[in-house]
């Protein structure tokens, strides 16, 4: 019986098409009895997950333990990976282990390198995990822990993981082509152009918003500013050490850099306690913004090996370690969540950002649930490393689940804080008042008691002068993370060190994104300008480097400056804009994916990508409508501009509002065009008026499998 089974399995492995497979008689009597133990185990996981989700969803008025969130997440991810991703692999994508991947066919030892699946998993995760899954859930916690948690779980399993997985697989089947190339080939030239413009727009908005998060985290904080400033000479030193003293020893160099950063954190404490030196590092938001803009320009123009690469290595080193540490801290401490499941701000009057749960919770949390930016990475380096098509499931779907888990940890870090403290940190002065007493009164009147004295004590404990109005999400996350760490590692004495470690960790993340993003944007602009003026397309021609760097830095620098000057806190309006841009890119990715699925003749399974696509269209288009036209001045750009104009307000702010409205409108129109082109193409294919022709690379049998046999 076993022999019969093996023989059928061997035959199945050698056959490619389902039609051929169907001709083989199925001997039902040779199929082994269903394994009871795995079935019971999965049933137990499903029931445990359902219990955890029910506990999170149903409990009202009493605090719950953070472990419920962890258990709900782990069980949901396990079920999603085991069953849903397997269904997609088998039915929708028909992963073929016999098909050679580009890493095998085009192996060149540089870009195309067959790599072990777990190594690719780590590589992919390190590239997709940025500050987004940490900041978004912290901001969305103003609604309570429930909306964010449910969106992170459902969004990842049905949206984000699916997007990353299918785009990765489609890129693998097209020799590692990028999302924009696939959009052009599969949807049409308009699709390609829109995808290109959407990528440029999202990079610019993303960089402006990220830089604003750093500014808000470092303003009036000599300790934080010193630590982050020191990461620049440390990165330069690492670059020189790596090039001159220990060529190629990157891990060793990163470990050395990490030790130096820890020393910088320790030194920052001394700086903050020494007034004569502290004043040098106590910078206003405007000054910090100017410094970051200048830094961005320098990072884009300097050689990669000198600053970008070492900072990237250092950031990855700290990132992987800290995420592991945070997970360990949460499990060991299993803290209680003080934030209620739902707050009164689900009605859209929240101080952190304005707008109802729908659609704003779903664009505020992007990276932890679904992020269009991931599709750039899933169609970038990763498809060139995958050794076997079947491994795309682990890398594409699995790595996004890991990223989603990071978002759950960020939610926990924000919700372990007393709600009053959370709102005091995250609310702009324009809403809660300028003085500590006024802020404490306003927040207490909302039903979240907080005292000015407690805030002062907390600020002293973390080594800051004040924690009021530290909008942007990073400081609140840092306080939550410091609370978790100091309760499990080192006690209250180390609270300030942990807080600044968390600030350094986030700022390092963000500055790495800033370095890399500015350079990627620069290359994209150079490529585009090269079509108009050939010398501008030469990536190593210095006038071109300087001009295009200035263009990109100027673009995101403008958004940063605008955020710093916004009396309502900047991040309030810019983060939703970033969320909209990011989710619009996800729409492009899912649109490409749905078009390909239909062209592959698998339209009956198109709902797998179509359902998240429809959801994202509903979310982003509704959010965009509100951001442009809503009558509430805290939501609608145009309403705010009108109010300012009526009160003869600052002309620059009025212009900014109108610019934001125009940018949002243009993005939405571009995406509507791509949706239209894709829908027309798909309908023509479905009605038989157009021949479905996917632009896959021809099938070549893998040699790895032959070797394995």
């Amino acid at each position: 019986m076993l022999a019969a089974c093996d023989s059928r399995a061997d035959v199945s492995r050698q056959l490619r098409s389902r039609a051929e497979l169907a001709t083989i008689p199925v001997f039902t009597q040779t199929i082994p009895m269903p394994k009871l133990l795995p079935m019971l185990t999965w049933l137990l996981i499903a029931l445990t997950g359902a219990l955890a989700v029910a506990t999170i969803a149903i409990h009202r008025g009493e605090q719950i333990n953070a472990m419920w969130l962890v258990v709900a997440a782990v069980c949901t991810y396990a079920i999603g990976y085991r069953f849903y991703s397997k269904f997609i692999s088998a039915k929708v994508l028909a992963l073929d282990g016999q098909r050679a991947t580009p890493s095998e066919r085009l192996e060149n030892g540089r870009d195309f390198v067959p790599t072990h699946k777990w190594v690719v998993f780590g590589h992919h995760f390190a590239a997709i995990a940025g500050p987004g899954p940490l900041v978004g859930p912290v901001l969305a916690a103003q609604f309570g822990y429930l909306p964010g948690t449910l969106w992170i779980l459902a969004g990842a399993v049905f949206g984000g993981c699916v997007q990353d997985f299918v785009i990765l697989l489609f890129s693998i089947r097209r020799d590692g082509k990028s999302l924009t190339e696939m959009a052009r080939e599969e949807i049409g030239p308009l699709g390609g152009l829109v995808a290109y413009l959407a990528v440029i727009s999202i990079i610019v908005i993303l960089l402006g918003v990220c830089a604003l998060v750093v500014v808000n985290a470092l303003k009036s904080s000599p300790w934080g500013t010193f630590t982050i400033t020191m990461t620049i000479p440390i990165a330069l030193l690492m670059g020189i050490y790596l090039r001159r003293l220990r060529p190629g020893k990157v891990f060793e160099t990163s470990a050395l850099g990490f030790v130096l950063v820890m020393l910088a954190i320790w030194g920052g404490q001394w700086i903050s306690q020494t007034p004569s030196v502290a004043r040098w590092f106590t910078l206003s938001a405007s000054t910090l913004a100017m410094v970051i803009i200048l830094y961005g320009f320098a990072a884009s123009a300097l050689p990669v090996w000198l600053l970008l690469a070492p900072r990237d290595y250092l950031s990855t080193f700290v990132k992987l370690g800290t995420i592991g540490l945070l997970a360990g801290g949460i499990i060991v401490l299993h803290p209680t969540l003080h934030m209620p499941a739902l707050t009164r701000f689900v009605d859209g009057t929240g101080p952190v950002f304005a707008g109802n749960v729908f659609p704003f919770a779903f664009i505020t949390i992007a990276c932890g649930a679904i992020s269009g930016f991931h599709s750039l990475i899933a169609s970038g380096t990763t498809p060139k490393l995958i050794r076997n098509e079947k491994e795309a499931r682990l890398v594409g779907y699995g790595a996004m689940l890991a990223e989603s888990m990071v978002a759950i940890m960020a939610t926990i870090a924000a919700c372990v804080l007393q709600p009053g403290i959370y709102f005091a940190i995250n609310s702009p002065a324009g809403i809660v008042g300028q003085s500590p007493e006024a802020a404490a009164n306003t927040i207490s009147n909302w039903g979240f008691p907080v005292h000015a004295v407690d805030m002062q004590t907390l600020a002293r404990a973390v080594g800051e002068q004040t924690l009021y109005n530290r909008t942007g999400g990073a400081p609140a996350f840092a306080v939550g993370m410091a609370h978790i760490f100091s309760s499990s590692l080192g006690g209250q004495a180390l609270m300030a060190i942990w807080y600044h470690f968390a600030i350094m960790f986030e700022a390092l993340f963000i500055l790495t994104v800033l370095d890399a993003g500015t350079r990627v944007g620069r290359f994209m602009v150079q490529d585009a300008l090269g079509h108009v003026c050939r010398p501008m397309g030469r990536t190593s021609w210095y006038p071109s480097i300087l001009a295009t760097s200035a263009l990109i830095v100027g673009a995101w620098g403008y958004f940063l400056w605008q955020g710093v000057k916004d009396p309502l806190g900047g991040i309030n309006s810019l983060w939703p804009l970033f969320g909209i841009a990011n989710q619009l890119l996800a729409i492009v990715a899912l649109c490409v994916a749905t078009t390909i699925v239909i062209k592959m003749g698998r339209s009956r399974y198109a709902a797998v990508t179509l359902a998240p696509l429809v959801w994202l269209v509903a979310v982003t288009f509704t959010a965009s409508w509100h951001k442009i036209f809503d009558a509430d001045v805290r939501i609608g750009f145009l309403a705010h501009a009108r109010q300012l104009a009526a009160s003869h307000g600052n002309a620059r702010l009025i212009f900014n509002d109108r610019l934001d409205a125009a940018v949002t409108g243009i993005l939405v129109c571009m995406i509507a065009l791509i949706l239209l082109e894709s829908a027309i193409g798909s309908l023509q294919v479905l009605s038989g008026r157009k021949q479905a022709r996917v632009k896959e690379s021809p099938f070549v049998a893998t040699q790895f499998a032959v070797q394995q046999k």
């Binding site: 030892g109 540089r110 870009d111 390198v113 790599t115 072990h116 777990w118 190594v119 690719v120 998993f121 780590g122 590589h123 390190a126 590239a127 997709i128 995990a129 940025g130 500050p131 987004g132 990079i203 993303l206 990220c210 790596l242 090039r243 001159r244 060529p247 190629g248 020893k249 990157v250 891990f251 990163s254 050689p303 990669v304 090996w305 970008l308 690469a309 990237d312 290595y313 990855t316 992007a366 990276c367 992020s371 930016f373 991931h374 750039l376 990475i377 970038g380 380096t381 790495t512 994104v513 890399a516 993003g517 350079r519 990627v520 290359f523 990536t539 970033f578 990011n582």
Partner: protein, 80 residues
Amino acid sequence: MKNATATTRLGKTGAGSARERCAQAFRQVLSLMLATVREIFDESAYQRFLAQRQLGSSRATYALFLREQETRRARQPKCC
């Protein structure tokens, strides 16, 4: 008595092999983690570069490697 000795011996052998299996699995996990770290930190890429060109590691070859990597690396987006 003979049977008992045999059982004990068998037990010891079983425990020994289980320990060995554990140690082997641990070594595999460790080497995989090391390989991942080396790939993330481009150390493997450098080794491949040296092997492909049959060069030894030196400042000059590393500089050459960095030059070759420069454009590729600079075009890699980092996610938010």
